[in-house]
Structure formats: structure tokens, C-alpha cells
């Protein structure tokens, strides 16, 4: 990608980066291509204190382009899985996970489709989602926003949503926060009285009705919905450097 015009993927990457604004000196774990790119954009521009790994066990002092292996000069620390668990229980972490299904309270499913006892489709399993969501900030990325992904009820709660967290009481849920959901169509949060998902902004060119039709539950739609910010030419330049192969461009369904 050499074009300086912002694509939908660029808008999504910036929207992902914005999820990490003001996070400061915490570890970011971003699963998937656009989350990885967005987190690197945040670190390269307005949030330089973020700690990020090479996807394995090295903490890197700068955000490398997608697919580039770190050299010794890029390393600032060590983050094997044992330390990842300690860090997530410590709470100094913001994870952005994918969601095969997510509901209006932010309950997420990556485990399976159909009954868990004998699933129609075994997916990843719950992985770290239960522990992540109850211990520190979580955001989600959905590259293909449709009514099979944004559903009234998820088949298995892997990541804990606001209704489940509230039912645990204030003590157990005090570290639970789902910051934002970024999809290929818009940006969403849970800043409503009962923490139902709310439309924050529509990506340029996306119609409100398209989002409503593509969502399997009733979204909270405030008056005067914003348009998701379009990256400036400078930011697009950074994105082209961080993703010279255009991996993120291919992840998005427009």
C-alpha cells in the first residue's frame, strides 16, 4: 500500500489505537492483525510508554512493522508466559481479543459454536478470556460485523460481559472493564446506565441502518452519532511503514 488515501482498514487501525489512549505504562496484548497494527500505531505516536512483546517472550522498546523480526537492539525485557500470567493477575494489562460472538453486554465467545458438550464447531476454547476480562481492561475487534457475530446470546461465555460482572457484585467485578469494541463498520462502547453496547461512531461511508441490520441485538444509538476519525496523512504514513505488506487491508470486510 503506498496510497496516501485513508482506507477502511486505516480507519479501523486508528480506532484500535485510540482504545489504548492514556493507558500509559502497561502491557498491551493485541490478538489479530488489525489489533496488532493499531497497538503499534498507538505506541509509535501518542502512547509511547506502552509495553509490547514480539508475540512471543521479548518486550520490545519500539513498535516494529508487522512481520518484522526483532533484532537484539529492539529488546527491552523478558515476558515468558509465566510473567504474562503474573502481569494479567496484577492488572497492568489491556488486551484486545477477537470475538466469534459478542452480545449486548460484551459477553464474548471464542470457545465453540453449539452446545459445549458436543459442539457443532470447536473453536479456540476459552483460552485466557475468563481471566483477562475479570482482571484487567479488555477491548474487542470484529473484522466482519454481522448478526452472527453480534448476537443476542453467545453460545458460551468466554470473556465476561457487564451483566455477568454485575451479578458477581462490586468486590469481584472491580477490575472488570470492557473499554471498546471496534468492528469494520464502527466503534462501540458500554457507557450507558446499564452497560448495554452503544454505538460511538460510524466509519466514513457506513450508514446507521447498515449497522442496525448487521447487529443481532438492539444497540443503544445516541442522538448525533459521530463519524470515526480518519487518520491524517502523517498517521497514514506511519501505518504504511508499520504495515508495508498491507496485511491489515486484507483483514477487513468493507
Amino acid at each position: 500500500m503506498s496510497s496516501s488515501e485513508a482506507t477502511r482498514a486505516d480507519v479501523c487501525a486508528l480506532a484500535v489505537a485510540e482504545c489504548f489512549r492514556d493507558d500509559g505504562e502497561i502491557m498491551v496484548s493485541a490478538m489479530g492483525t488489525t489489533p496488532s497494527l493499531g497497538a503499534r500505531l498507538a505506541k509509535s505516536t501518542f502512547e509511547p510508554d506502552l509495553l509490547m512483546t514480539d508475540g512471543f517472550n521479548l518486550l520490545l522498546r519500539r513498535a516494529l512493522p508487522l512481520g518484522v523480526k526483532p533484532s537484539d537492539d529492539d529488546v527491552e525485557g523478558w515476558m515468558p508466559f509465566g510473567v504474562v500470567f503474573d502481569t494479567l493477575w496484577w492488572g497492568r494489562r489491556h488486551v484486545m481479543m477477537g470475538a466469534s460472538q459478542i452480545d449486548q453486554f460484551g459477553n464474548q465467545n471464542i470457545a465453540c459454536i453449539g452446545p459445549w458438550e458436543q459442539p457443532k464447531a470447536q473453536l479456540l476454547g476459552v483460552r485466557g478470556a475468563p481471566g483477562n476480562t475479570i482482571n484487567h481492561v479488555t477491548s474487542y475487534w470484529v473484522p466482519n460485523h454481522n448478526a452472527r457475530a453480534l448476537v443476542a446470546k453467545v453460545d458460551m461465555v468466554s470473556g465476561v460481559g457487564y451483566d455477568r460482572a454485575a451479578a458477581l457484585g462490586p468486590e469481584s467485578s472491580r477490575f472488570h472493564e470492557i473499554r471498546r469494541v471496534v468492528t469494520n463498520l464502527g466503534v462501540f462502547d458500554f457507557n450507558t446506565p446499564d452497560h448495554r453496547m452503544r454505538l460511538v461512531s460510524l466509519h466514513p461511508g457506513v450508514k446507521l441502518q447498515q449497522v442496525i441490520d448487521s447487529t443481532g441485538f438492539e444497540l443503544v444509538v445516541p442522538d448525533g452519532v459521530d463519524t470515526t476519525p480518519v487518520p491524517t496523512p502523517e498517521v497514514i504514513g506511519v501505518l504504511r511503514e508499520l504495515d508495508s505488506q498491507g496485511y491489515a487491508q486484507k483483514e477487513i470486510v468493507v
Binding site: 515468558p80 500470567f85 493477575w89 470457545a111 458436543q118 479456540l124 476480562t133 482482571n135 458477581l168 468486590e171
Partner: protein, 276 residues
């Protein structure tokens, strides 16, 4: 000792702990020996990879206890997936961190360790044996009591070891192989190379000496012992063979051929087959 001698301890119905992580540093020489031995009705406790997948495919696995089952570069283990979708596998699926606490509890001979992980999620629903505990202190917080993951026999693989059973992990992540040993009644370690103790100590930083000889009952020299999974820094994952293995989940004839060529053979023949 040999891998055959080590797996001689394993009998039908036992609970086996398998070290490594996903498709990384899995003690595959032991797994292949378990296949040759043909022990049945096994329970495997593992951060799962092809260890769980292969034992699903051979029908030796009754129950899997896991934080995930993945081949890393292939996110979902296809033989495990097939067994789950066919409903032929008993499964205990835990959050990855809960799994670690279960290992730690077993290693510390505790009945459980408390955590916030799992609260509010369906992990508690699919695992009705999991219970919560209330903090006895003023906070009174309700926490998940992750039960100890005790195992009968554990298998791990290290880069280097000495003949006494001191083991060295030279890769950048030690994973949790020490805990697997301590969670087990008996543990066996394979390694790329058995070296004199002097050479072991000088061969890497002291922190790489993850396993001490108290933790293991026997050590086996098994070069290529984690193949086709990675054994960093000695060798990377054999992605080609892993892809070939993964594809057999959809093709019974291909699985039979894979099994005949790579599993129903001695370890020496396996190593010859994958290097030729």
C-alpha cells in the same frame, strides 16, 4: 534409560502430565512411545498441542484437561477438534491461568489455589466440579478454588541434561515443565543431549537450569525428541510435517498412512523418516 523404559510406568487409565506449550517443546518421543505401547483410557493434563491430538486420533485418550489445544501456526488442533465435535472426548476446559494454578496447587500439595479467573464465565458452568471459596479475611471476596491437577506420570523435554537428571531449558520461555514434574508422582525427562554436569552448568545462564534431579525419576537422550514441534534454539517447528499431520484429520486413509510411517515405527526409524 530409553523412552520405552520410561513409558513402561504408564498403565491403562492413568493421568499423564505433558510439558511444553502448544506445538512448542512437546516431549513427542515419549508421546510416540505411548502410541507404540498402546495404553488406553488415558487422561492427559497439558497446555495441549499434537500430544493431545495424536492420542485423540489413536483412540488412547479418554479425557483431556487443558488450557487450550493448539498447533500455534495452526490455531486449532484438528484431531482434537474432530474428537470434540464427534463427542468422543471427555474434556475439562480451563482458563489458561486457572490451569497454571491447578499445576501449582498440585506441586505445592494443596487442594486448590484461589483466583478471580473464571468468575462470571461459563468455565464454571461446563465444569460443575469447580467450586468457589470465600476469603476468610475482611474483604470476604468470593474466588474460584482451582483444584490441584495431580498427575501420575509427567513427561518433559529439555535442551540439555546430565545423567543425574539436572535439566536445562535453553529457549527463551521455560514454560511450566518444572511444575509438571512436581505435580506428578513420577516424572521423566528427555533431552536433546546428555552432557557432563560441568558442561551443563557452563552451557547457559544458571536460570536455564529449570529442572533439578529431585524432580525427575529418569532421563533419556532423545535427539529430535520434540519433533515436529519446536525445540528452540536447537531446531524450529517442522511446519511441513505439522501441516501434513493436520491434514490427516480430514482423511482417514491419510491418517493411516501417517500413522504407519511416523508412529508405528521405532523412535530411530521416526528420526530417519523425518530427516531423509
Amino acid at each position: 534409560m530409553t523412552v520405552e523404559q520410561a513409558v513402561a510406568e504408564v498403565t491403562d487409565g492413568m493421568t499423564i502430565g505433558i510439558g511444553g506449550w502448544g506445538s512448542r517443546r512437546k516431549p513427542m518421543a515419549f508421546v510416540r512411545a505411548l502410541v507404540r505401547k498402546g495404553v488406553k483410557d488415558l487422561t492427559v493434563v497439558s497446555y495441549g498441542g499434537p500430544d493431545i491430538g495424536i492420542l485423540c486420533a489413536t483412540g488412547q485418550l479418554k479425557k483431556a484437561v487443558y488450557g487450550f489445544v493448539s498447533l500455534d501456526s495452526i490455531p486449532l488442533e484438528p484431531h482434537f477438534r474432530k474428537a470434540r465435535q464427534n463427542g468422543t472426548l471427555e474434556a475439562v476446559e480451563l482458563d489458561e491461568g486457572m490451569f497454571l494454578l491447578g499445576l501449582r496447587a498440585a506441586a505445592q500439595r494443596l487442594p486448590f489455589l484461589p483466583t478471580r479467573a473464571g468468575l462470571g464465565s461459563d468455565v464454571l458452568k461446563i465444569n460443575p466440579h469447580l467450586k468457589t471459596v470465600k476469603s476468610p479475611y475482611d474483604d470476604g471476596e468470593e474466588l474460584v478454588a482451582v483444584p490441584a491437577l495431580n498427575v501420575d506420570v509427567a513427561f518433559i523435554h529439555m535442551n540439555r541434561a546430565d545423567a543425574l537428571g539436572n535439566g536445562q531449558a535453553l529457549g527463551r520461555d521455560p514454560y511450566f515443565d518444572n511444575l509438571f514434574c512436581m505435580a506428578a508422582k513420577k516424572a521423566y525427562m528427555s533431552c536433546e543431549k546428555i552432557v557432563p554436569t560441568d558442561e551443563l552448568v557452563s552451557g547457559g545462564p544458571l536460570q536455564s537450569l529449570l529442572i533439578n534431579r529431585m524432580m525427575v525419576s529418569g532421563v533419556v537422550e532423545a535427539p529430535g525428541g520434540t519433533h515436529f514441534t519446536e525445540c528452540s534454539p536447537d531446531y524450529p517447528r517442522d511446519e511441513k510435517l505439522q501441516r501434513e499431520y493436520a491434514a490427516t484429520a480430514k482423511d482417514e486413509e491419510a491418517w493411516k498412512a501417517f500413522r504407519a510411517k511416523y508412529l508405528d515405527v521405532s523412535e530411530a526409524e521416526y528420526q530417519k523418516a523425518v530427516t531423509s
